[in-house]
């Protein structure tokens, strides 16, 4: 489906209270257009819950469920099995959570559901920190980034560990579909959600969703920054379909400094730290490429 062919009907409607330039809101609005009305959503405590489902308002035009924080995949499991019992297996169950709810506190339930190959689509919207609680570092926060728990102090500044490779962890579960997507590459994004929708079993898509509030960038630059992440190799676009891995877009290997420059969260980084991050990017891309070659 082409971007211009997406239905006009909004299943995640206007009136929600996300910040201007919110990457997660862009992702959810568009993926719902692809997935369509026969979808049920479960979402943990995160920005998306607050800006999309604060009583008595609801931005969702499909059944919406929230239980807790770390159990999105377990709840999606319950919904999915219930639909099987009721003979409504055609309904797509989507668990959608942020990086904290997925890569950190939610990874146990997620791994369990993936291992059991539960029939669901799990979406991680990756804004690289706990944004809802006020920008704390997560396992998915990149090296060097300022957050409120990795503040720029006199002795230490920014996050000292590198980003957790969630897509690789999910591919190691040998599930039918794993993909990375970005709000900066909407056509690739649409294609991947279409593919996920057409499949059965456990599907995982991790979407790169810049957060102007937490990343300290201009609200008009969400898409631009998402594109820069792909161009620099900070975010690799690929997919694994029944174990076959395909790189969706080769990075241009633009210097990582270009990606860091427009974001306040990286402003304090020393030349040495930028070099460390650049080295990490080079190694990561090399590893991603090799992994794709051996998973053919």
């Amino acid at each position: 489906m082409k971007l211009k062919d997406l239905p006009d009907e909004e299943l995640f409607t206007r009136g929600h209270t996300a910040c201007a330039g919110c990457g997660a809101a862009i992702a959810v609005r568009n993926l719902m257009k692809v997935l369509g009305p026969n979808t049920m959503v479960v979402n943990p405590a995160c920005c998306l819950l607050i800006f999309g489902a604060t009583y008595p308002y609801l931005a969702w035009k499909v059944p919406f469920h929230h239980v807790a924080f770390e159990n999105t995949a377990a709840c999606a499991t319950g919904m999915s099995r219930a639909m099987k019992v009721l003979g409504k297996d055609e309904t797509l169950i989507m668990g959608i959570a942020g990086d904290g709810g997925t890569a950190d506190i939610g990874i146990q339930a997620l791994s369990g559901a993936a291992e059991r190959n539960e029939n669901m689509l799990y979406v991680m919207y990756d804004n690289e920190a706990y944004m809802n609680t006020g920008i704390q570092r997560s396992g998915s926060t990149p090296f060097g980034a300022w957050t409120t728990t990795t503040p720029v102090g006199k002795v230490k500044a920014g996050k000292s560990n590198f980003k957790k490779d969630m897509p690789l962890i999910m591919m190691a579960h040998n599930v039918p579909y794993v993909a990375t997507a970005s709000v900066g590459h909407i056509q690739d994004f649409i294609r991947k959600f279409e593919k996920a929708k057409s499949m059965k079993g456990f599907r995982y898509i991790q979407v790169f969703t810049p957060c102007p509030t937490g990343w300290r960038h201009d609200t008009a630059k969400t898409v631009e920054i998402a594109k820069l992440a792909v161009d620099t190799g900070m975010w690799t676009l690929y997919e694994s379909e029944n174990g076959k891995v395909t790189i969706s877009k080769k990075p241009k290997m633009t210097p990582v400094a270009e990606y860091l420059k427009p974001q306040g969260r990286f402003r304090h980084m020393s030349e040495e730290d930028v070099k460390s991050l650049q080295d990490w990017v080079m190694k990561k891309w090399e590893a991603d490429e090799k992994y794709a070659q051996c998973r053919q």
């Binding site: 009583y55 059944p63 377990a74 499991t77 099995r81 099987k84 019992v85 339930a109």
Partner: protein
Amino acid sequence: MVSKICTGNYSAAYGSMRSRVRTVAAYPITPQTFIVEHISEFVNNGEMDCEYIEVESEHSAMSACVSASASGVRTFTATSSQGLALMHEILPIASGMRLPVVMAVVNRAIASPINIWVEHNDIMPERDSGWMQVFCDNNQEVLDMVLQAYRIAEDRRVSLPMTVCLDAFILSHTVEPVDLIEQADADRFVPRYKPTGPILDPDDVNAVGVFTPPDYVMECRWQTDKAMRSAVEVIGEVNAAFAKQFGRDHGGLIDPYMVDDADAVLITMGTASSTAHEVVDDMRAEGKKVGLVKLRFWRPYPMTEMRAIAEKVKAVGVFDRAVSFGVGGPSFIEFKSAVFGIDLPVLNFIGGLGGRDVSLADIRYMYDKLLDAAKTGEVRRDVTWVGTRGVSQ
């Protein structure tokens, strides 16, 4: 009628099958494990038409049950001790969403020290979780209460989750003859599941569990409180209906024995009740006027019933297989609150923790103390640890 020798764990599993549970999500933990093993066997043998989800933790077990229940199917799970503690976060979510999830809890000591034997300290932190809780005294009661639990929990006036509690090993692993209710009889008693509130349904868009500002939360809490109060009546009705159909009357919130003319009564929960029952018989034969109150429902708590008993007798003892450190047994604390303003000696006995045996002699010791208090009207020591090294009796 098919009578079979079986364990309490088998009774619980069998009860879930006969209640036509359609989704089970559970995780193994001693001494509950046999429940999930039996259910897996029922499912794999085609005897039980159910989605069995082998989740990776108790937290996920309860989460999956909540979401399956919110999607409109009858659910069941089982756990013990540390597993229940891990589930803790999700329990008030089940009641807050008014979902009639039923869970068997095999009561086991909570760490530390780690121990796998009976104690009620695992469930006490769940007192305020909005779950109804019944304590069983034998394996027949376990099976019967699983069936009753669905009828109580799914009643429109209640619509709350419920635990069926059984003592670790004493019931879970001990065989007793049990009338294994046949499917046709179970079907007559437990109606087909009809969700009582809005559910997640692709054909009827609802939200279940949204972020709720201060303007609305008080009313939600009030409705849950009202539902728990309504449960008192429903429990009585369901017990009566069960007794009528199956000829077994387990009692409602409480099951009193020899209370009417008693000078002193002891309140017990779970299997200590059977032991106390025997002591009452022995002491009555000796002409001592003692009675027993089997406290079946911990929530809803039998406030009115307990006051009526307190008005009738001269001394009450409360036996707790749990402790609220520095205060006394939870059941004792509750009873004192229920009978506030009634002047009578109330003694608390704490014992049987971590699986320590509660013997006939222990119970007789409690009754002797109670008869003494009934005679003098005095409370010499309100909380007594029974059978504990270093504690003078």
